[in-house]
C-alpha cells in the first residue's frame, strides 16, 4: 500500500508541476531559513559548553545599586576569598584590553603588529579552562614573561618555524618586555574567551614590570580591571558564597562604593538563563529570540502555503478520493495517504533546503558575523528540538489537508460537484492574511531599522568627519628621542600640500573617551554635583579646528598650554552639556569660572558646542577637554581625491620617524559608523528575512491565484460572453486577494508600531514612526501582491471564452 501511495504522490507532484514547484520551493526556502537560524541558536547555546568544569565554575561580578553588573573586578579579591572561604577550590584571573600593544618578533627586520585581542592571564589558565594546549605544557604558563600563542598567531609570527622557545617583545602601557613563547593552544570557535596571544599575569607581580602603573598591582583592591573566575565545591551554595564575598568586600574596602559581589554561573556567562537574569553577558538573548521567532514565522508561512495550495487543489483530488472510497478505502487509510504525501513533500523540501543552506551559508555568516558551519547545528541538542518542530509542523500541515480531503463525500465528488466548503475558504483566507501580516510586518520593521540607521549615519554630528584620516600613534621605541621625532613627523605632515589640517589627541570621535571621572563642582553648584560623571578627552590646540567643532564661548587651547605637565595644568574646555550639568545657565556664565576637581582648580577657558563624540544610541555626554599633546592619534584632514597616494606618502613618513611601529590608519567617518554594526546587522537581517518571507508568501499567493482562476474559468467565460472586458475580469479576480493583503496590513501596523517604538527606545536620537512609512510599506506590499496575482488574472481575462466554456 505504501508503495502505491509513494507512486501516486510522485506522479501527482509531476503532473501538477507548478503546484509542486510552489509547494516544494516555498517549504525548502522556509526550512532553509529555519536551519540557518537554528545553526546560530545552537551555536549560541553551545558557547563555553566545552569546559569540563563549567557546572562548578562561577564568574565574579561587581553590581552597583542600580543593578548594573560588570565583570571587571579588583585583582586582590581572588586570593583573599580563597584564603577565607574553603569552598573555593581554585580561581583564575585574566584581563581583556589592558595588555593591548604592539608585538614584534625578536629578529632582524621582523614586522611589528598591533595586537588588540591579547591579555594577561593567571598561571593556571590552561588548567582551569579546558583549552587545548597543542605544544608546550600547560604548567609552563605559571612562570613570568611567558607567552602562549593561538595556532593562527603562531603562524603569523613564525610561519612554519617552531614557535616554542622563540621570543617576542611586547610594547604596551607597561613598557617594553620580552616574553618567551612556551606554548601553542587551540581555542574552539564557541569559546567566549578567545585570545590571539596570552601573557603570563605572573609577569605583573614584579613591580619592576609595572612601569609605574601602580593601579595594576595584583593584590590591589581598588582598580577594577580583571576578570575573576572561581571553581567551588560541588556541594557549596554559590548564593551563600556570594553574600560572604560581599561581606568580605565591605570589611576590607575602606572607601565604601556601595557595590556588591555577584557570582554568575559560567554556563550563563554567554546567554542568561532567562530575560529576568540581568547580569552582563557576552551573548544577546534578545537577538537569539528574535531570530528564532523569525525562523518559525517564515517556516509557518511556508507550511500555510502547503495547506492553502493542497486544499485549493482538492478540486483535482476529489475524484481520486471518491474512487478510492468507492473501492473500499476507509477514511483512516486516506488520511494516512495524504499525510504520507505531505511527509514526502516535506522530505523533498528538506533535502533541497540542505542544498540552499550550503549555498547561502556564506551570506548568512556575513549577516550574523559568525563563522557557522553545518556542524554548529549538531553541537547542542537544539537540533533535536528543531527536527521535532519540523516533523510536527509537517505532520500538522499535512494532517489538516488529509483531514479535509479524506472527508469528501464520494457521491458528490464522483458527480464532479464542486467541493467548496465555506470553512476551508475562511481558513485559506485567514492563512493568507497571517502570511502577509508577517511579511508586511518584517517589511515595515526593515524600513524603520533602515531609516534609523540612515538617520544615525547622516545626522549632523556637530563634527565634520569627512576626509579625516586618523593614524594610530606609535608605541614602540618611545625613548629619549621620541619627542623630537614626533615633532619632526608633525612638521613633515604640516608641509604636505594635501594636508588641510592636523591634530594630536588622546581620543577621537567614535573611539570613546580617555576616561570618565567624578569629583567636579563649581562655586554655584548644588550638593551631589560632585558625584556626576564627566568624560575626559585629551586634545591639542588644533583638535577643534581639525574636526571643525564649534565654540559656544571663549577660545581653544594655545600650543603652549598643551605642553604644560598634567598636574600643572589649570585650564580646561567643557562642552555645553558639561556646563549644564554643573549648573551654569549659559556658556558666558561658565566662561573663566574656576571649576573644582577634587583638590585642583581648573579655569574654563572655552565652551565647546555639543557634538557627538560617540554613537547616536547615547545622548551627548558631558565632556571635559584637557590640554595634552597626546599622541595616541594623529588626525589629518585631506584636501585631495588622491587618497591612496596620500596614505602611501604618510606611511613612508611615519615609518621613517617611527621605525618598528606598524602604520595603522582609519577614516574618521568609517570609524564612527562602526558603532552602528549592531544596527547594520539588524538591518541586514530584517532585509533578508522580509525578502525571504515575501517571496514565500507570494509563491503561495501565485499558486492560489492560479487555482482560483482555474476554478472560476467557467464564470469568467460566461462573464466574457455577456460582455465583460479584460479589466473588469482582472479586477474581479484580484479584488478578493487584495482585500486579504489589506487586512494583513491593518493587522501588521499596530504590532510593528509597538515593536519599533520599543526598539527606538534604545536610541537617544531617533526617527519618527511616520505614518507615510507605514503607508509606503502598505503600498509596496499591495503592489507586490497585485503583481503576483495579475499575471494569472490577466491571463484568464484575455483567454478565449469559447475555450474556457468548453473545458467545463
Amino acid at each position: 500500500m505504501l508503495k502505491t501511495y509513494f507512486k501516486i504522490t510522485l506522479r501527482n507532484l509531476w503532473r501538477n508541476k507548478l503546484y509542486s514547484f510552489i509547494n516544494i520551493a516555498g517549504l525548502a526556502m522556509g526550512i532553509a531559513a529555519f536551519i540557518l537560524i537554528l545553526q546560530y541558536v545552537s551555536f549560541e547555546k553551545s558557547v563555553n559548553g566545552f569546559h569540563e568544569n563549567i557546572a562548578t565554575t562561577y564568574r565574579l561580578l561587581n553590581e552597583d545599586p542600580k543593578g548594573q553588573t560588570w565583570p571587571q573586578v579588583e585583582p586582590g579579591w581572588a586570593q583573599k576569598a580563597k584564603d577565607r572561604f574553603p569552598e573555593i577550590q581554585a580561581y583564575c584571573r585574566f584581563e581583556e584590553g589592558v595588555g593591548q600593544g604592539i608585538v614584534r618578533r625578536n629578529a632582524e627586520n621582523a614586522e611589528p603588529f598591533r595586537e588588540t585581542n591579547v591579555g594577561y592571564a593567571e598561571g593556571n589558565f590552561f588548567e582551569f579552562f579546558s583549552f587545548n594546549v597543542l605544544e608546550g605544557s600547560a604548567a609552563a604558563f605559571k612562570k613570568p614573561n611567558v607567552v602562549f600563542l593561538s595556532t593562527a598567531t603562531a603562524k603569523k609570527y613564525f610561519g612554519k618555524a617552531e614557535p616554542v622557545g622563540q621570543s617576542l617583545t611586547l610594547y604596551n602601557q607597561f613598557g617594553k618586555a620580552n616574553y618567551t613563547v612556551s606554548g601553542v593552544y587551540d581555542i574552539p570557535v564557541n569559546s567566549d574567551i578567545r585570545y590571539d596571544m596570552v601573557f603570563s599575569l605572573e609577569t605583573l607581580s614584579n613591580p619592576a614590570n609595572l612601569n609605574d602603573n601602580d593601579w595594576a598591582q595584583l593584590d590591589n583592591l581598588s582598580s577594577q580591571y580583571i576578570h575573576t573566575y572561581f571553581r567551588i565545591n560541588e556541594t557549596a551554595d554559590y548564593k551563600k558564597l556570594e553574600q560572604k564575598l560581599t561581606t568580605l568586600r565591605n570589611e576590607l574596602k575602606k572607601d565604601k562604593d556601595g557595590l556588591v559581589f555577584r557570582l554568575q554561573p559560567f554556563a550563563n556567562v554567554h546567554l542568561p538563563a532567562s530575560f529576568s537574569d540581568t547580569y552582563q553577558t557576552s551573548g544577546n538573548l534578545k537577538y537569539v529570540y528574535i531570530l528564532s521567532i523569525i525562523a518559525i514565522l517564515i517556516l509557518a508561512i511556508a507550511w500555510f502555503n502547503y495547506i492553502n495550495l493542497s486544499t485549493a487543489n482538492a478540486l483535482k483530488r476529489a475524484n481520486e478520493v471518491g474512487v478510492r472510497k468507492v473501492v473500499g478505502a476507509s477514511r483512516g487509510s486516506l488520511v494516512l495517504q495524504f499525510l504520507g504525501e505531505s511527509m514526502l513533500v516535506n522530505l523533498i523540501s528538506f533535502g533541497l533546503a540542505l542544498l540552499i543552506v550550503r549555498l547561502l551559508q556564506p551570506l548568512f555568516n556575513t549577516i550574523i558575523e559568525k563563522e557557522l558551519t553545518f556542524t554548529s547545528l549538531l553541537s547542542t541538542p537544539a537540533w533535536v528540538a528543531g527536527l521535532v518542530l519540523l516533523i510536527i509542523g509537517s505532520l500538522l500541515s499535512g494532517a489538516y489537508t488529509a483531514y479535509s480531503l479524506s472527508g469528501f463525500n464520494p457521491v458528490e465528488t464522483l458527480k464532479g460537484k464542486l467541493v467548496k466548503t465555506t470553512k476551508a475558504v475562511v481558513l485559506r483566507k485567514s492563512l493568507v492574511v497571517f502570511q502577509f501580516s508577517i511579511s508586511i510586518g518584517l517589511l515595515l520593521a526593515t524600513a524603520f531599522i533602515y531609516r534609523q540607521l540612515n538617520y544615525m549615519q547622516n545626522k549632523n554630528l556637530g563634527v565634520n568627519t569627512d576626509q579625516l584620516l586618523v593614524i594610530r600613534g606609535p608605541q614602540v621605541d618611545k625613548d629619549s628621542t621620541y619627542k623630537m621625532r614626533r615633532t619632526a613627523f608633525i612638521n613633515a605632515i604640516a608641509q604636505q600640500s594635501f594636508v588641510k589640517d592636523y591634530s594630536l589627541s588622546g581620543s577621537v570621535p567614535g573611539n570613546g573617551y580617555n576616561f570618565a571621572t567624578s569629583g567636579f563642582s563649581q562655586p554655584g553648584s548644588r550638593k551631589g554635583d560632585e558625584l556626576k560623571s564627566f568624560s575626559f578627552a585629551l586634545i591639542d590646540d588644533r583638535y577643534l579646528n581639525t574636526y571643525q567643532i564649534g565654540l559656544a564661548a571663549g577660545r581653544t587651547f594655545t600650543q603652549a598650554e598643551t605642553m604644560v605637565d598634567w598636574n600643572d595644568n589649570d585650564k580646561v574646555l567643557m562642552n555645553e552639556k558639561a556646563i549644564e550639568e554643573l549648573g551654569f545657565k549659559s556658556p558666558e556664565e561658565a566662561l573663566n569660572t574656576k571649576v573644582q576637581w577634587d583638590e585642583r582648580k581648573l579655569q574654563v577657558i572655552g565652551v565647546v558646542k555639543n557634538y557627538h563624540h560617540i554613537g547616536l544610541q547615547k545622548a551627548i555626554d558631558p565632556i571635559i577637554f584637557y590640554p595634552q599633546s597626546n599622541s595616541a592619534y594623529f588626525t589629518v584632514r585631506l584636501q585631495t581625491d588622491r587618497i591612496q597616494d596620500n596614505v602611501a606618502q604618510l606611511e613612508t613618513m611615519f615609518k621613517s620617524y617611527f621605525r618598528n611601529n606598524p602604520f595603522e590608519y582609519f577614516f574618521a567617518n568609517d570609524n564612527f559608523n562602526k558603532q552602528y554594526i549592531s544596527e547594520q546587522q539588524y538591518s541586514k537581517l530584517f532585509t533578508t528575512a522580509s525578502v525571504w518571507a515575501i517571496i514565500i508568501a507570494c509563491l503561495g499567493l501565485f499558486g492560489l491565484a492560479t487555482y482560483t482562476v482555474e476554478a472560476r474559468t467557467k464564470e469568467i467565460g460566461v462573464r466574457k460572453v455577456l460582455g465583460a472586458n479584460v479589466l473588469t475580469i482582472a479586477r474581479l479576480l484580484s479584488k478578493d486577494f487584495l482585500q486579504l493583503v489589506f487586512i494583513a496590513f491593518v493587522i501588521a501596523v499596530p504590532v510593528v508600531w509597538y515593536a519599533m517604538y520599543r526598539w527606538l527606545e534604545n536610541f537617544a536620537y531617533k526617527v519618527q514612526l511616520s505614518w507615510w512609512v507605514f503607508a509606503a510599506a502598505g503600498i509596496v506590499a499591495i503592489g507586490i501582491a497585485l503583481l503576483t496575482i495579475s499575471f494569472q488574472a490577466i491571463k484568464a481575462a484575455i483567454a478565449n471564452p469559447v475555450k474556457s466554456l468548453r473545458t467545463q
Partner: protein, 225 residues
C-alpha cells in the same frame, strides 16, 4: 439479497427540501440482473448510492444479506462495501495517476490481499477483460471502451456479490457499449447480482427485470425473463 422498505431520502438546501426517495420499497434476489429506469431526477442515482452504501437514507429499512444496514456509520459501510460491492460508473472514474494494473489492484489493496495474490488476480481479470496488453498504460492513453473495461475489471476483481452500474454505457459508442453489456451479462451468468441504472431501453433489455421510477417512487416493474 436486498430488501428495501419505505426508504426515504431528502436533500435540503437553505430554502427548499427536495424528496429524492419517497417511501420506496422493493426486493432484489441474489443472482438477479435488475435495471432501474426513469427520467432525470427521479431518484435513480440516489437509490444506487444508498444501495451501494455510499450514502445513507433518512428513513425506512435497508436489509443487505439479511442485515439491517440503514443505521450503519461510514466505517461499517465502507467495510461492508469493500468486500461485497463493485461499482461501474458512466464516467469510468479511474485514477489518472495510476496505471491500468494499479487501478484494478486498488480494491485488493484495501481489502488487504497480499502482493503476490494481487498480481495473480489482477492479471487474471485483465486477461478476462482482454486488456492485459494495456496493463502499464495510464487511463488517458486508452479509448473509452477500454477505460470502461478497466473499470469493470476493477469492479469485479474483488469478486463482489453485487455490482452496481450507473449508466455504464453512457459515455460509449454502441459497439463498445454492447461489449460492456455483454461483460455484465457474463458476470451475472457466473452468479453476480447486478443492479444497473440506465436511460437506454436497449441496455435494459439485457436485464431480467426493469424497475421504473418517478418522483422517488417505483411506478412499474417489468419482468423480462
Amino acid at each position: 439479497m436486498i430488501k428495501i422498505t419505505n426508504l426515504e431520502k431528502y436533500y435540503r438546501t437553505e430554502e427548499v427540501e427536495t424528496v429524492a426517495l419517497n417511501k420506496l420499497s422493493f426486493e432484489i434476489k441474489e443472482g438477479e440482473f435488475v435495471a432501474i429506469m426513469g427520467p432525470s431526477g427521479c431518484g435513480k442515482s440516489t437509490l444506487l448510492n444508498i444501495v451501494g452504501l455510499l450514502d445513507d437514507a433518512d428513513g425506512g429499512s435497508f436489509m443487505f444479506n439479511g442485515i439491517e444496514v440503514a443505521g450503519f456509520n461510514e466505517r461499517k459501510r465502507a467495510d461492508l462495501r469493500k468486500h461485497n460491492i463493485g461499482f461501474v460508473f458512466q464516467s469510468f472514474n479511474l485514477i489518472d495517476e495510476l496505471t491500468v494494473f494499479e487501478n484494478v489492484e486498488l480494491p485488493l489493496i484495501y481489502t488487504g490481499v497480499k502482493a503476490a495474490d494481487r498480481k495473480t488476480r489482477v492479471e487474471e481479470v485483465l486477461d478476462k477483460m482482454q486488456i492485459m496488453h494495456r496493463r502499464n498504460h495510464y487511463p488517458q492513453q486508452l479509448s473509452g471502451g477500454q477505460q470502461q473495461r478497466v473499470a469493470v475489471a476493477r469492479a469485479v476483481v474483488n469478486k463482489p456479490k453485487l455490482i452496481l452500474a450507473d449508466e455504464p454505457t453512457g459515455n460509449l459508442d454502441s459497439s463498445n457499449g454492447n461489449e460492456v453489456m455483454q461483460l455484465l451479462t457474463d458476470l451475472n451468468e457466473q452468479g453476480t447480482t447486478i443492479i444497473m441504472v440506465t436511460h437506454s431501453e436497449h441496455d435494459a433489455k439485457y436485464s431480467h427485470r426493469i424497475i421504473r421510477m418517478l418522483d422517488g417512487q417505483t411506478v412499474t416493474e417489468n419482468i423480462l425473463v
